[in-house]
């Protein structure tokens, strides 16, 4: 099946990611660990743009950019350098941003995503290094702003801006691209997507192969789909009413879920780019082979290996490799003696499902436990031990607990930070599977106490059997296996 793209939608993305795993900023030794710090405590003459301060490039940032370029299957430039992009805005203390212009470090890459019609390739035009501006806080609402407060802690944070070709054909594909992109970056260990401001996205979108509109200020990978859905609907409405979509830049208002026109006099050519005289050009292609050797196994390769090595389905392998920390956790669980197929089901379906339901995002894995934090409230944290998952899966595999009980144990463990093993929880909650004679006793009681239901069932009303099974489950507090209970009742009544 080939996706026809009936509405002629073209979406391209520009993604800024912070290299927040580095210890220091792009051009100075200020720490990147500013997220919980008081304002303007992580700054120096360089990132404050004080006169006479000289930027010196962080070598690790260049290595990270090359890593990203290789993972995107791009070309690394023979020679690359920085430019100044000139504009006035208070978040930019120097009056220009140091960025790359016509010689970006990476060009011509690609990412394969799960598209509308199976595998779909999204071209990467370029990826380049630049510095982050400071952070502005408006006093009062933006419309009636009384002033602006500036914190330069973020100023000079190392960024990589990646620009894609307009190859995505739906908001869903755009979201899938971002998920995959983020996943690759986390595999490379250059980026922690859970930190505030770690990823910012601008999108360009057109319908009916028409005029491109830029949508700026999308702050989350979830926001992308919403912003694009709104913007596509808006453009279609303009055309339906006989109007023309005008080429413009719009601003996404995340709270209201709408895009708003922003008028700006400064067009691209007005940035007066010129070469940054304080930074020397780079020739780093001789680093490539050494960096290649440090590249980890990337998501697609890991997925293929999981299917091969553990004999699990494509869907499970896809889900497990969608986060490097989850993939490592799964391998930890399998290595410690849990059946890999059971482990896939319990990790990818149940465990991940329960995390998503609670809005918990995986944030760490140290070989013994996987940690997660609440997506909206980072104060809520918890973790889950490999050994606990192994124990739980083995209890289930040995038939000592029902699947319902196993799910309940996972839920209990996610809802408390108390350290308790699965066996302890199972014991406390009385979740061990009822012994067969207990079930037999419950069946006998259920039949004796519900004469009417028994007669109805014998008279042909199948529903009544469900009622009797329900009674057995109630008497055994859900520990009986429903299938066994049903068989026992039928055997008892019909011989």
């Amino acid at each position: 099946m080939v996706y026809e793209n009936p509405e002629g939608i073209r979406i391209g993305l520009e993604i800024h990611i912070q290299l927040n795993k580095l210890k220091t900023k792009m051009f100075c030794g200020c720490s990147t660990d500013y997220h919980n710090a008081a304002p303007n405590t992580h700054t120096c003459p360089v990132c404050l743009g004080l006169p006479g301060a000289l930027p010196v490039l962080n070598k690790k940032a260049v290595e990270a950019a090359i890593k990203v370029g290789l993972a995107l299957e791009g070309e690394i430039a023979e020679e690359t350098q920085f430019h100044r992009k000139n504009y006035f805005y208070p978040d930019l203390p120097k009056g220009f941003q140091i960025t790359q212009y016509d010689f970006p470090i990476v060009s011509k890459g690609k990412v394969v995503i799960e598209g509308e019609d199976g595998e779909h390739t999204v071209g990467i035009t370029r990826a380049h290094m630049e510095e982050d501006p400071g952070k502005l806080v408006h006093i009062g609402s933006i419309g009636k702003s009384k002033g602006v407060l500036i914190d330069y802690n973020r100023s000079g944070m190392p960024l990589i801006e990646t620009v894609t070709e307009p190859d995505m054909r739906s908001p869903k594909e755009a979201r899938r691209f971002l998920d995959k992109f983020r996943n690759i970056l986390e595999y490379l260990d250059v980026f922690d997507g859970n930190l505030e401001g770690a990823m910012r996205v601008d999108a360009n979108v057109s319908v009916h192969w028409g005029t491109r509109v830029e949508v700026k200020n999308i702050s989350s990978h979830k926001g992308v789909e919403r912003a694009l859905l709104y913007e596509i609907m808006r453009q279609k409405n303009v055309i339906r009413r006989g109007g023309k979509v005008s080429q413009e830049t719009r601003h996404f208002d995340e709270g209201r879920g709408v895009t708003l026109s922003m008028r700006t006099k400064e067009e691209a050519e007005d940035y007066r780019y010129f070469r940054e005289p304080d930074l020397m050009p780079m020739r780093v292609t001789d680093w490539i082979s050494a960096i290649k050797e440090t590249l980890p196994e990337l998501p697609d390769a890991k997925r293929a290996r999981f299917m091969e090595q553990y004999g699990i389905t494509d869907m499970h392998a896809r889900s497990l490799t969608s986060k490097i920390m989850l993939a490592d956790f799964y391998e930890g669980v399998s290595a410690k003696g849990a059946d890999p197929k059971f482990a896939a089901t319990w990790t990818a379906d149940v465990f991940l499902g329960e995390l998503n339901y609670r809005d918990l995002a995986i944030s760490s894995y140290d070989g013994e436990r996987i940690g997660f934090i609440h997506a909206k409230d980072p104060r809520i944290k918890n973790s889950f031990k490999v050994s606990d998952m192994v124990e739980l899966i083995n209890l289930f595999a040995e038939g000592k607990i029902s699947d319902r009980a196993a799910v309940e144990v996972i839920r209990t463990m996610l809802d408390t930070t108390e350290e308790k093993t699965p066996s302890r929880i199972i014991e406390e909650k009385g979740l061990f599977k009822a012994e067969d004679d207990l079930v037999t006793k419950a069946v006998a009681e259920a039949i004796a106490e519900n004469e009417a239901a028994v007669q109805d069932y014998l008279g042909g009303t199948e529903k009544s059997l469900n009622f009797l099974v329900g009674q057995v489950m109630k008497k055994t507090k859900g520990t009986a296996d429903a299938k066994t209970a049903r068989e026992l009742i039928v055997k008892e009544l019909k011989g």
Binding site: L22, K23, T24, C28, G29, C30, S31, A38, P39, N40, T41, H42, T43, C44, P45, L48, V56, L57, N58, K59, K60, A61, V62, Q81, N86, F88, Y89, P90, V137, H138, S145, K146, G147, V148, L149, I150, D151, Y152, K265, E266, D270, R272, R275, P277, L279, M280, P281, M282, R283, V284
Partner: protein, 93 residues
């Protein structure tokens, strides 16, 4: 050729006010500078690689090692416009 409108636009980009008289003056000066570059353009440079830095230096890096930052009060020492550890500036746009 640089026109009066170009000069006004450049003035706006640099956020400086330029009077009517200055606009004409700058237009003439800028055109004279461009004229000089026009002379350079007559040279045959097709086989010459562009020079961006006079020093043939490449690959100047530093290690990813944290250094001390400035204390907040030092950062804010040169301004009277501060609030809760931040710089306070007028609203934008």
């Amino acid at each position: 050729m640089i026109t009066k409108e170009d000069v006004e636009h450049i003035g706006w980009l640099a956020r400086i006010d330029i009077s009517e008289q200055e606009t004409v003056e700058y237009m003439e000066k800028l055109n004279s500078v461009l004229g000089y570059f026009g002379q350079l353009d007559e040279l045959q440079t097709e086989d010459v690689a562009p020079t961006y830095h006079v020093a043939e230096i490449y690959n100047v890096f530093r290690d990813d090692m944290v250094k001390d930052c400035l204390p907040q009060e030092v950062v804010l020492a040169n301004t009277e416009h501060k609030q809760d550890g931040t710089f306070r500036v007028p609203k934008i746009g």
